[in-house]
Every structure is written in structure tokens, then in C-alpha cells.
């Protein structure tokens, strides 16, 4: 098929026709590595190497197990359950269950996309994520599976493997299977790895089929925020992650020439992905905006697909008389299946409110039904929202008896009772302030014995802010170009670009999304390469500097020092890990094919990348983090991240942990504790920034690179903690590592700590990588 047949609102896709033809002809001559399609235990030794350095620190979120009828079992301290399981094993078992849920979600999502794309475009539809610019189109599939997919149909084999592994992994969590926490953790890494591959499958399939931006650096700027919606038009809201129903809506609007008449708005990853299909779509916000936006009454029709959709969205939709259309087998919401009914009949039933919503499992129907319904209900609804008006707030607030139940249920311990007291006296400032940090969970309302609509009151008090919510976000670009990798590969591996920092994941932020935007800007200014994806990408755009510009307007979208690269939705995360892997393959010319351990060893020792999931919340976020860990990429989470039950922490005070092979000589040499941790929660944004800078250091840094990284680490430490870090001496290997501008104070510390110069190795954890073997391997 010709790409010209794919109508998108993106104009500039001339290159594509050329590249498709050629991708087919390319033969893959790379020799097969040792571990294609790895099983549960294939990479166990690699995992154990990492887990030896980064021992799990378990923080049980529950002391009991209730997974079988012998329970509940009290596992506190040294106690074991009736099945014999220990507390560490039970915690890692729970982590594995969590990560399996996340991986299942991405694999299920990928399978659905590949099936529907195969049906619509044919199995031999070519994969193309960037034409000539992206020859390594599927680095993770190549790495893990050892195959080079060329068509949509080629992805079936990959999915078969992922589904098989997932089934085996889930079986591991049954009573009386694995008993060792280390083995559970190794399987967590395995689940993370297959999750990463699943994300790659999903994103390269949708990029290839729907004509999403193909690794372009400057994608269009998309309007973002509730204030950006033209409420005079009928408004459709799409929520979730699985984009085909939303694509159908866009196609229908184009076909019927209604694009200018109807507003298409979205929340979460479906909105990110639909804005890759048409720059006219508007993104409202991350998933924490669901209640706010629905309660504003602005959407006339709500279309949900899958993942992260509030389970009470149908109830909320009914409150604003907005019909809801469910479109995915995984999320039917109890609605009647009307897939085989005539669209006009379905529309009539929803417009007359005979039914609150419908289930439509055939994507091709969704556009027509959603559009017609929106157009017909819009005039009737007149955007009836139910934020209390300012004059009503005072009256409602007076019902508050200061019992504090709301605050005790708020994940961020928000001072709601205090805000209510002030509001009862006519001062709404505290309520309004809460808008920025509220994650929109409505647990406060569930707790309030006075039935005060607390969340709605926060929204009512923040009406002016809502109107001002107008931002810009760059559409997700997908993959990183090979040429970009060639250009930055050297500076990254040498440490001269101080790091690649990826802000990913959900919006369970401790103090609002602004902190993500601030961190993005800080690291881009410091000339790190900053990537964003998913809800974090949206949050990063919802803040303007003094000149009224967002991070996406301030910095270029290219994968270069000082770039802010929005790769896209959650499944686009694969391109971030993929970029790290491509550095090993394109820049360092290492074989990727079925060669996981060697490439992970390369990435771990040389590529100063850090993932930051500041609002990590879901099981998918846990899976995404796990995929990074196996590649040796550390992940920082916000304070809520400790609820994932364990950290993977290095101990810089234990010298024996930080010896590595020098591949040149085979000697075991002390490097620095770099990266210090593999999974760590930060308490505050300030602490996170210091951690990020530090975690970007790698054993392979040249002196010039290490000096640049140390400059950032020491400077951020001084600025945020008020002092020079007490571990700088561990990161200085030779005097040339010391940043010139900080020489006096660092040399003073080196003298105090009796520092001695040491060599900079060609680092590897794998004895087989030693070129001149001195050790027995």
C-alpha cells in the first residue's frame, strides 16, 4: 500500500514512499547472539550480578498474605507462611505479580493493535518508523528475540513469545513455586524485559499503520489544557491508551468534513497518540485530569478504551448527562453490547438518555456514533458542569465539622479541613491552592461524613486557573534517528553529554505536575538529553516560564544535548530504552542480535541514562521500571514509589561491591559507586535532582566527562542541600576528573579522605568480555 492513502493531518511525509520499498530488500547478516528468545532463567546470571550490587531493601506494604485459603498468613519479621514462604520472597512475589499485570497490559494492548492493523492493512504491511533515518527499526526485538521484523505479520512471532513468557511468569507466583527472593527478582527483570519488547511492538505497529510522526525532530505543537477547548463546539473526550477508536473518530470527522465543527479532546495516552495522528486534537491533561474535566461538564460524549480509565467514569458521565461509549473488551463497564446495531439507533438511545452509554466493540462504528451523539446532545446539555459556584462554596464549606477524615484519606495529606474552615469564612485561597497538588482521586469525598463534594469545591475555587490552562506540547515523535545516535553516542559514552534523563510514567505526584516541568527545564538547561513520555510528557508541558513558554517551546525536540524529546505515549517508552541499546549497536558496533547480556553490560557501564517516574502509580509503571533495570538503567521514583514494596539500593560505603573487570587487562579494579542505585525513591524534587545527576555517572566516563557530571552533581547538591556532597572522593579517579571551577574545595576533601589516584578501566561485569584474559573465566 502507498503511504499517500493514509490521510493524516501531518503534511510532510514525502520521504516515506522511498523508504518502505527499501526496508523490504534489506537482509540481516548480523550473526545470532547467544540468547535469542530467552526463557525464564536464560539471563539469571546477569540478573544475579546486578542484584548482588543492588540488593533489594524490602518495605512491606502489607505484613500479611491472603493469596490462598490457608491464609491469611502473618509474615512479619522472620515468620513464614503456611506454604513456607518468607517475607522477602512474598514481597518480591508481589512485585512480580505487579509487573506481570503491567506486562500483560502492554502485551494485550500490542496484540490487539497488531491484530486490528493486520486485518485492516494486511499482514505484509511494512514496518516503518522513520524510513532511512531509522534503519534499526526495532532495537529491542532484535536484541531480545534475535529477529528483524519487517512487516506487521512478523510481529506475531514476537507476541507469541511474549505471551508464552508471561504465562510462565505468572505461574511462578502460584503457591508453592519459587521460594527465593533473588529468583523472584530475576523474574521481575524478565517480566520487565518482555514488557519493553511489548511496548516496542505496540508503538512500531501503530507508527507504521497510522502514519504517526516517524522520528521527526520537530513535530507539531499540540494545544494542551482545559482552557484550550472551544466549548462552543460539540466536544468529544477520549480516555485511555488504545488509539484505534480515536483514529476512527478522526477519520469520520475528516470524511464528513466536520473536523472544524467538533472538538476532539483527550486524556492520558490516547490523547498523546491521537495527537500523533492529527495535530488538531487537543490534550486535556494526564489521567489525574479525568474527574476535573468530566465534572467541568465540557465533554458532550466520552469514549473510553483501556487502561487507567476511572472505574466510576460512567457514574460521573451520567452526572453531567454525557453519554459514554466503551470500546474495548477489557473495559465494558457493564454496558450493553450494541456493536451490531445501526449507528443511528444507538445515537438515538443515548441522546434521549434511554441508556447512559453503550459498548461498541467494532472500531469502525465508533467515529460515527460518537460524532453524531456529540452533535445532538451538545445543544441540550449547554455544558452543564457541577463545580459549585463561588457563592455556593461558602455555604457548603460551613457544613464541615472539622473531623479530618478527608485529610486522613488524601494520599498527599492535603490540609483540606483548614481549607474548609477558611472557605466557610469566605476565603477560598487555600482551596484554590490545592488545585495544583491534588491528584484528582476523590478519596476525600468518599471519606467525608458530611457528603461535602470536596474535589468539586477545589475545582470551583480554581475556576480562573482552569480557564488559564492553555499550554503547548510537542507531538510524540516515536523513535530516535540513527544519525542522532551516531552524533551523540560518543559524547554520551565518554560522559561529555552528562546524561539522558527520561521522565516517564503516571501523575501520582507528591506536589503536582509542575515539579516534573521544573526538573525537565533544569536538566535541559544543563545540556542533558531529556526525554518524556506518557502522562509525565503531558505534565512537563503544563507549566510556562516567565516568558509564557513551556519546556517544549523552550528547547528543541531533537535527541541532542539540551533537547526535550517527547517520544509519545506509554508504549513509546520503548524508544528511550531502544536509544540506549542503539548506542551500543550503531555507535559502538556491538551485535544486537539475541545478545542481551553483552548489550546490557555495555549500557550499564557506559550509557549515563536515568529513568524518572516521579508519579509512578500503576502496574505498568512498575513493569516499565523493571525493563530499565535489566538493562542496567537506574530509575528514580517519587515518595509514593516506596509502595512498590522495595528498592534496589547500592551501598557506596561497601567498597567490595564496586569492583569491575578492566576488559583490557582482566584485572578487577575499583570503579566508583556508579550508578549508585538501580531503583530509588526520592522524598522531594530537590532530592530527586541531586540523585539524577549522580546516577548519570558511569564507570566508562572519561575524565572530561566525569568532570562535567561532577560539576552538575556538586552544584545541584550545594544548591539544594546547602553543602558539598561527602562522597565526591569516591567519584574522582584521577585529578583530571576534578572540575576546574571546584578544584580548591574538592582537593581539600580529597586530602581529608586520604584519596588515592586510580585507573579508569574499560569496564565490564562479564569475564568473557576480557580481551586479554588474566582471570579464569
Amino acid at each position: 500500500m502507498k503511504i499517500g492513502e493514509l490521510k493524516t493531518d501531518f503534511g510532510n511525509i514525502k520521504d516515506l514512499q522511498l523508504s518502505i520499498g527499501q526496508a523490504k530488500e534489506e537482509k540481516w547478516e548480523e550473526p545470532m547472539g547467544p540468547t535469542p528468545f530467552p526463557s525464564l532463567t536464560t539471563l539469571r546470571e546477569w540478573d544475579k550480578k546486578l542484584l548482588e550490587r543492588y540488593k533489594p531493601f524490602y518495605m512491606p506494604f502489607c505484613d500479611m498474605c491472603c493469596l490462598c485459603t490457608q491464609g491469611k498468613c502473618d509474615l512479619t519479621g522472620p515468620k513464614r507462611g503456611a506454604c513456607g514462604i518468607s517475607m522477602p520472597a512474598q514481597q518480591s512475589r508481589t512485585v512480580l505479580i505487579t509487573v506481570c499485570i503491567g506486562a500483560a497490559t502492554h502485551i494485550g494492548h500490542a496484540r490487539e493493535l497488531v491484530t486490528s492493523i493486520s486485518e485492516k492493512f494486511g499482514k505484509d504491511h511494512p514496518l516503518d518508523v522513520g524510513g532511512h533515518n531509522v534503519e534499526v527499526e526495532a532495537p529491542l526485538i532484535r536484541l531480545v528475540c534475535g529477529i528483524k521484523p519487517e512487516t506487521i505479520g512478523d510481529l506475531d512471532e514476537v507476541l507469541d513469545y511474549l505471551e508464552n513468557q508471561l504465562t510462565q511468569l505468572l505461574a511462578v507466583t502460584h503457591t508453592g513455586q519459587e521460594g527465593s527472593s533473588v529468583d523472584f527478582e530475576s523474574k521481575v527483570f524478565h517480566a520487565g524485559m518482555i514488557d519493553q519488547v511489548a511496548m516496542e511492538v505496540a508503538d512500531i505497529a501503530q507508527i507504521s499503520a497510522f502514519g504517526f510522526p516517524k522520528a521527526e525532530e520537530e513535530t507539531p505543537l499540540i494545544e494542551l489544557g482545559m482552557g484550550a477547548v472551544d466549548t462552543s463546539k460539540p466536544v468529544i473526550l477520549v480516555v485511555g491508551h488504545n488509539v484505534p477508536p480515536a483514529v476512527n473518530i478522526v477519520d469520520y470527522l475528516q470524511k464528513t468534513k466536520l473536523t472544524e465543527e467538533v472538538e476532539l479532546t483527550g486524556i492520558c495516552c490516547t490523547s498523546l497518540d491521537i495527537s500523533r495522528y492529527t495535530p488538531k486534537a487537543k490534550i486535556i491533561g494526564p489521567i489525574s485530569w479525568q474527574l476535573r474535566y468530566v465534572r467541568s461538564g465540557v465533554p458532550d460524549v466520552i469514549v473510553v478504551d483501556e487502561q487507567c480509565v476511572r472505574a466510576d467514569l460512567l457514574i460521573e458521565a451520567q452526572r453531567i448527562h454525557a453519554p459514554l461509549i466503551a470500546t474495548n473488551q477489557k473495559n465494558c463497564l457493564g454496558l450493553e453490547d450494541r456493536t451490531n446495531d445501526r449507528p443511528d439507533d444507538i445515537v438515538a438511545d443515548m441522546v434521549s438518555e434511554k441508556v447512559p452509554g453503550v459498548l461498541i466493540l467494532e472500531t469502525n462504528q465508533v467515529g460515527e456514533v460518537a460524532t453524531k451523539t456529540a452533535i445532538q446532545v451538545a445543544p441540550k446539555r449547554k455544558k452543564m458542569g457541577f463545580f459549585p459556584k463561588k457563592e455556593e462554596l461558602k455555604e457548603i464549606a460551613r457544613k464541615c465539622n472539622q473531623c479530618k477524615e478527608c485529610r486522613r484519606s488524601c494520599p498527599n495529606d492535603a490540609a483540606i479541613p483548614e481549607a474548609m474552615k477558611a472557605a466557610g469564612k469566605g476565603n477560598f485561597a487555600l482551596l484554590e491552592e490545592m488545585y495544583d497538588e491534588c491528584v484528582g482521586c476523590a478519596r476525600c469525598e468518599q471519606a467525608c461524613p458530611q457528603k461535602i463534594p470536596i474535589h468539586s469545591m477545589i475545582l470551583g475555587a480554581a475556576q480562573e486557573k482552569v480557564k488559564e490552562e492553555k499550554y503547548k506540547i510537542r507531538a510524540g515523535r516515536g523513535a530516535i534517528q540513527d544519525i542522532e545516535i551516531r552524533q551523540v553516542g560518543g559524547p554520551i559514552v565518554l560522559g561529555e553529554i552528562p546524561g539522558v534523563v527520561a521522565f516517564v510514567g503516571c501523575p501520582n505526584f507528591p506536589k503536582g505536575g509542575k515539579e516534573v516541568a521544573e526538573m525537565v527545564i533544569e536538566f535541559a538547561k544543563r545540556r542533558y538529553i531529556v526525554c518524556t513520555s506518557g502522562c509525565a510528557a503531558i505534565a512537563a508541558g503544563m507549566y510556562k516560564n516567565d516568558e509564557g513558554k513551556t519546556a517544549y517551546e523552550l528547547f528543541p525536540g531533537s535527541f541532542e544535548a539540551g533537547g526535550v524529546v517527547n517520544v509519545g505515549s506509554c508504549v513509546s517508552n520503548a524508544h528511550i530504552a531502544g536509544a540506549a541499546v542503539k548506542i551500543a549497536s550503531i555507535f559502538a558496533r556491538r551485535n544486537l542480535r539475541g545478545n542481551y547480556e553483552e548489550i546490557a553490560d555495555y549500557v550499564y557501564n557506559r550509557v549515563g541514562a536515568v529513568g524518572v517516574a516521579w508519579g509512578a502509580m500503576t502496574q505498568k509503571a512498575a513493569a516499565i521500571a523493571s525493563g530499565f533495570w535489566r538493562l542496567g538503567i537506574p530509575v528514580v521514583v517519587g515518595p509514593h514509589g516506596t509502595k512498590y514494596r522495595r528498592m534496589l539500593l547500592g551501598r557506596r560505603d561497601k567498597e567490595e561491591l564496586w569492583y569491575t573487570y578492566d576488559a583490557r587487562t582482566g584485572d578487577k579494579v575499583y570503579t566508583s559507586p556508579a550508578p549508585e542505585h538501580l531503583f530509588v525513591a526520592a522524598e522531594t524534587k530537590e532530592e530527586a535532582m541531586v540523585m539524577i545527576a549522580k546516577l548519570c555517572m558511569r564507570p566508562n566516563d572519561t575524565s572530561k566527562g566525569r568532570a562535567i557530571k561532577l560539576t552538575n552533581y556538586v552544584d545541584l547538591h550545594k544548591r539544594n542541600f546547602g553543602s558539598i556532597p561527602d562522597d565526591v572522593h569516591l567519584y574522582v579517579r584521577t585529578m583530571a576528573d576534578v572540575p576546574i571551577t571546584m578544584k580548591d574545595e574538592i582537593v581539600k576533601m580529597l586530602n581529608e579522605k586520604q584519596w588515592k589516584e586510580r585507573t579508569i578501566p574499560d569496564p565490564t561485569l562479564l569475564p568473557r568480555m576480557i580481551r586479554k584474559a588474566k582471570v579464569k573465566v
Binding site: M59, D63, D74, T642, A681, A682, E687, F721, G722
Partner: protein, 179 residues
Amino acid sequence: MANNEAWMTAEVGGPKRASLITKPEVAEAMIRRARRPILVIGHLAAEIEMEDKKLIDYVIDLATNTGIPVVATAHTGNAFLGRRFTPASIMSAVDIGNRLADPTWKGIDGNGPYDLAMFAGLPYSLAWTLLSGLKNFAPHLKTMTLDNVYHPNANWSFPNISIKDWIINLQAIIRDLGE
């Protein structure tokens, strides 16, 4: 709410839950008995207002009166230094938690493991999980929180008390231990 209900309603404790510090003498006795106590102070200490002072001011008084070393987590170090108090170490909450759980850790000063860790000023759910880690994996260590909310996973915790009662308790502890 009952005295020994977790401050966050849903974060109920497990079978093993903290004993209540019902009066300052209970905490004082614990601190006096400890050979190697340590204070772990989170960033909220510099934010929580206690009438004309902040929580961090009480922590400084306690540390100064007793000589107990302070680990400042997150960016709390800045607030301490701004008050001309130098913490013994700056470390993240999970880092210090991980070290405290290690019975072979020699401590910040290298003089041996701690036997009492006192916490204040950490976000509630972070402290909850951290204390759970120590409850389950640090049998050699007693934990106590000085926050005014009940923490089921500590060995000793105040019940959920008002700022006023909190001030009275902390003042008494600081005074009595300084004598």
C-alpha cells in the same frame, strides 16, 4: 478516631503495631536506655509550623541537648545549615533505612550500629513504608517516631495528637533529657 489508628485511614497496621507514647516519660526512657540513638529528619520538619516555631527547631533543641546525631533526608540539610546546625549526614530516607536494616553497618561515625532510630518530618506514607522495612528486617533496632500522628510500623509512636499536645510533649522530652 481511636488513639492507635493509622493517621492515613487505609494504611492500617499489621499484626505487630507500635506501642503508644502516652506521656513524654515513655519516650525519654527509650532514649535514655539507648546506647547509640540516631535521629532521621525529613523535609517536612522545616515546613510544619508549631505555633511560633517549626518542627525542625525542636529537633535541633533535642539534638543539641542530647548530642544525638541527625541524618537530614532530602533537602532538609539546607534548613538545618540555615539554622547553624550541621547534621551528621545527608542521606535519602531509603538509603538511611537500608543501612539501619544492616546489623553490620558501623554507623556514620564508624563506631558501631545504632540501637534506636527516631524519625520525624517525613511524608506519612514514606515513613510508613520505611518503618515497615525496619520492623520486618531490623530486629536489632528499635524505632520511634516523633511526629504527631500514629505510625503503626514503629516500635513506639505518639497517637494522633494536636499540635498543642505535641509541643507540650516535645518540650518536656527536650527539657528532661537536657537535665
